[in-house]
């Protein structure tokens, strides 16, 4: 019985697809115990259970069904996104009155204008609030009936 090297050779025998080196082969020739183990492993490797030929197809079919069911099902974040988009587009509830039953706070929000009013402002003219009393008097004289563009 050879003990020296047995452990290493048996570990190597257990490794798949790794050929033994010359020293290990020599050990196997000299050690009956390791040779018997090599024979057992050869037997086992030569008798791996056969895999049913239809298995891959079966798995692929199950995956195809899974993909189909996933495609038809909208995830929760998809529903949330759809809801946000509907609100942004002002779709509301189909067939419902968009203004008739709006709560007060929402109605106030709805009356706010997006852009501040520029009524009373004329492009190119100075803002009246910024003028001093004297400057305002001069401006009124210019714009008065005797001023430029005024009625004769």
């Amino acid at each position: 019985m050879i003990i020296d090297g047995c452990e290493r050779v048996r570990e190597r025998l257990s490794e798949q697809a790794v050929p033994l080196d010359a020293d290990e082969e020599a050990h196997l020739q000299a050690c009956q115990d390791c040779a018997a183990e090599a024979e057992l492993i050869r037997l086992l490797r030569g008798s791996r259970p056969e895999v049913p030929a239809e298995l891959v197809g079966r798995i692929e079919s199950a995956l195809a069904r899974e993909r189909t069911s996933r495609g038809g099902r909208r995830p929760w974040w998809g529903l949330a996104a759809a809801a946000v988009a509907a609100v942004a587009l002002g779709l509301g509830v189909p067939g419902g009155d968009r203004t008739g039953d709006v709560p007060a706070y929402a109605a106030e929000e709805a009356t706010l204008e997006l852009w501040p009013s520029d009524d009373g402002e004329i492009a190119g003219l100075p803002a009246l609030d910024a003028l001093s009393d004297d400057a305002l008097a001069v401006l009124l004289d210019e714009l008065g009936p005797s001023g430029p563009g005024g009625a004769a």
Binding site: S14, A17, I41, L44, P52, I59
Partner: protein, 176 residues
């Protein structure tokens, strides 16, 4: 050969062929692992199918810390055990669940009938305690490292190695 990790990445983006390649590459190992646990070819196929379905659904959860194969085999082992539990709930005995193909040890008469040495070795292998059986199967049939085997059977790398060598020794004793 495209590494598993790259195929997983591609499959996550919806590449069906990438996941198909993973199925092609690993279905045999998953099936054999399942068979070593449930000892029934029909159930092993069910386990293999469910394993890939679960892996497909959980692909985003695979972090890549362990090889994809180990992750897949862990799912397969859990699926196989779930199948065994379902059998137990159906009032079958625990012994039948674990080893329906053979008894604890083949009788001399049975052994005489099994003329093929390899078949006999396989039958005896099926009688080993679960951790020894899995360690031998995963090492010899699938080429897993002892570290991978340990992770799979819930043991350390060293314990997986011990289980493997005990299993081999037991096999040799029973076959001699």
């Amino acid at each position: 050969m495209i590494p598993d990790g790259d195929l997983v990445q591609a499959a996550r983006t919806g590449d069906e062929r990438a996941f198909g390649t993973l199925v092609e590459r690993h279905h045999a190992g998953v099936y054999r692992l399942a068979l070593s646990l449930v000892s029934d070819t029909d159930t092993a196929q069910d386990v293999a199918q469910d394993t890939f379905l679960k892996a497909f659904r959980a692909l985003d959860g695979y972090r890549g810390d362990a090889p994809f194969r180990s992750w897949l085999f862990t799912i397969a082992a859990n699926e196989a055990k779930a199948q065994l539990r379902r059998r137990v709930r159906r009032k079958e005995t625990a012994l039948d669940d674990a080893r329906p193909v053979v008894g604890d040890e083949p009788s001399p008469a049975d052994a005489a009938v099994v003329t093929d040495e390899a078949e006999r070795a396989r039958r005896v292998l099926a009688t080993l305690p679960e951790k020894q059986r899995l360690s031998v199967t995963l090492r010899i049939d699938e080429g897993l490292s002892f570290r991978e085997i340990g992770a799979l059977i819930g043991s350390s790398e060293g314990a997986a190695r011990v289980n493997y060598f005990h299993g081999i020794r037991r096999l040799r004793e029973m076959l001699s």
